[in-house]
Symmetry: C2
Subunit: 375 residues, 2 copies
């Protein structure tokens, strides 16, 4: 392996492949980026065994790349060293050559490095073939999906399937759900695609939205085992989470007794203000509603003290209600909404309640389970 | 205690007092800010027992304060709660009243808090009297002092006196020194003041430079035990570090055999480039000089690989030299200098070498001890 390439363009591509790499991989070679050089292109691969990214660089579709291949070949180099060398080399092109086994020579103008690499045979073989089920999803859609559901996704390993976003396609809708079993967030898109239901690791969706934000085109495809995102230069894929996702449709109440319409910023400010009143690291908010003009939010902690605020709403239809819940859950939910007023539907004091944008109770839905308290 | 005050002005003052507070104080009341209200002023005190800050607010010199005292008194409130409440209260003025013992009532427009405080008697008594020895030092001088010496200050508790900046005044000079015993930084100011030698905790100097940056005037005074910084509204003081500071003058060579003049950015880039070649978490740089045109910098790590770079200097006067040292020490030293070229003076391969700005070997001096290697 022996080639020259424009330092900046190579560095950009390396940073993308490096995003898949985890700092504590059990397989040593996975701390590296696999560099495969053929006659007119370079393929870079980074992976943590769950998430894998492949970036292809070739002169044909990129003039500024300045790739000159003197001899094809491949090696795996620790991503931290590779990124550091390419970023800081003292020339605009970098010359890279294997000199002995995996010992790789990096040359700038006067600076040079000899770095120990791994053999490509030590790197796990990763299959990047494109799965059969294709559907269309844009980076902007991934952004609005994560803005609506990410905070509800569980970060506990006790039930791995809850650490992902469930995506369910049926009847022209893509229903995206996150839940940690105490709250649930749902975002629905109208798109045409075959029916499926998969759960994608949260990190995969987050990486996809950052990586493909700058790319012209993105296509998405699925199999039983993996999800793949593609642009002309980048393939990113991830294994899916195993296990059956809870039947969340069943959890969302379809009929409500009581409906509150209230100014979003007012509610958000109240949740923010009271967030330091914690018991066992949780702010328990008590919401008492008699009428639109008679709403009290309060919170109490033996150690710290108490908070109390009277609010007025735009409207309230229903019987008086007295309900307690996590203030940070309501804060997250309200921050994910966008209309001037938000709508809260209650059924009973101990049943889940849902929060939606006003005039659109379909696209984003936030559900919160109340907490039993003894006042 | 019962008063109203402009929320923003009160918040600004609280953030200054809170800077002295440590999150893990052994005395519970020191997690709080002491609020002392008299007829026409408020005194706020924050402390971690070493560093103490007092902010005085009064209507006489601040119209926008809007202080209305209904009843004098005092209380200590946890700084985190106090800052959060004042920052987020739903009105431009906040009304604060003790309602029962230390239970304190905070009122905005509709939001209110009742918070448990501490009795002022639980708060350590802190003496803010002004020490006798005054000298003049500006926030800009503190800035340039820390830029020159902060990185050399030890962060290990084994020799506490090395965790501070030594300030020594004699013959119209203020000599400021930081050392961790492997390297040393010195910055000299020409100021008129009585002779003294004290060692000030690094945190104290850093806080002083941030806090007084925005204040019109600052005066500094000293006793055997403490240093105090004053502006019309703020008093900040700190105990001094005990123990005798090493006689650093003795460590700095006064005669040199070999002198290198070299471009600063060139040297900085080389140290930066090689910084990932580490052995036992340290980058050991070997510098070999034969002449101004024949200089080699190299670094080697069994595990990672090696680095090599040929450099040319502006000039070299001396015999050939072959010296090894920590690359990150030289990087810190070079970054603290400002001239286009820097001057390095060597005596012998195993003796300390010093780096200074070109044309000014007095105001900033950086000294580095070589490392013995077996090449």
């Amino acid at each position: 392996m022996n080639f020259r390439i424009n330092k900046l363009r190579f560095y950009e591509a390396l940073t993308i492949a490096a995003r898949a790499i985890s700092s504590n991989s059990p397989v040593p070679a996975l701390s590296g980026i696999k560099v495969e050089v053929s006659q007119d292109s370079i393929i870079l691969t980074g992976s943590d065994a769950t998430l894998s990214i492949q970036v292809t660089l070739n002169n044909a579709n990129d003039e500024s790349l300045g790739l000159q291949v003197i001899e094809p070949g491949s090696v795996v180099i620790d991503s931290r060293y590779l990124l550091d060398i390419v970023k800081k080399i003292d020339s605009s092109d970098i010359h890279i050559e294997i000199i002995d086994g995996t010992l790789t020579h990096f040359m700038g103008q006067k600076a040079e490095f000899r770095i120990n690499g791994y053999r490509p045979s030590e790197y796990p073989s990763i299959e990047f073939s494109e799965p059969a089920v294709r559907f269309s999803l844009s980076p902007d859609m991934l952004n609005s999906m994560m803005a609506a559901v990410s905070f509800s996704i569980s970060n506990k390993d006790t039930r791995p399937v809850l650490t992902g976003v469930n995506m369910q396609a049926r009847n022209g809708s893509l229903i995206c759900t996150g839940t940690d079993s105490f709250r649930l967030s749902r975002k629905i898109f109208q798109i045409d695609c075959p029916e499926f239901s998969v759960t994608v690791p949260a990190r995969t969706v987050n990486e996809a939205k950052s990586i493909f934000q700058d790319q012209e085109k993105m296509s998405v495809s699925l199999s039983e085992k993996k999800i793949q995102f593609r642009s002309p230069k980048i393939i990113m894929q991830s294994t899916l989470l195993e296990g059956s996702y809870p039947d969340t449709e069943r959890l969302i109440p379809s009929a409500f007794n009581d409906t509150l319409v209230i100014n979003r910023s007012l509610l958000q400010a109240a949740m923010d203000r009271s967030s330091f009143i914690k018991t066992d690291n949780m702010t328990i908010i008590r919401l008492q509603i008699s009428s639109a003009e008679d709403i009290t939010i309060s919170s109490k902690s033996q150690e710290i003290g108490e908070y109390n605020e009277d609010l007025s709403a735009v409207s309230y239809e229903g019987i008086p209600i007295d309900i307690s819940f996590s203030g940070s859950y309501l804060l997250d939910a309200v921050k994910s909404l966008s209309t001037e007023n938000v709508v809260i539907h209650f059924t009973e004091n101990m049943k889940p309640f849902i929060i939606t944008n006003e005039g659109d109770d379909q696209s984003v839905l936030q559900l919160i389970l109340p907490i039993r308290t003894y006042n």
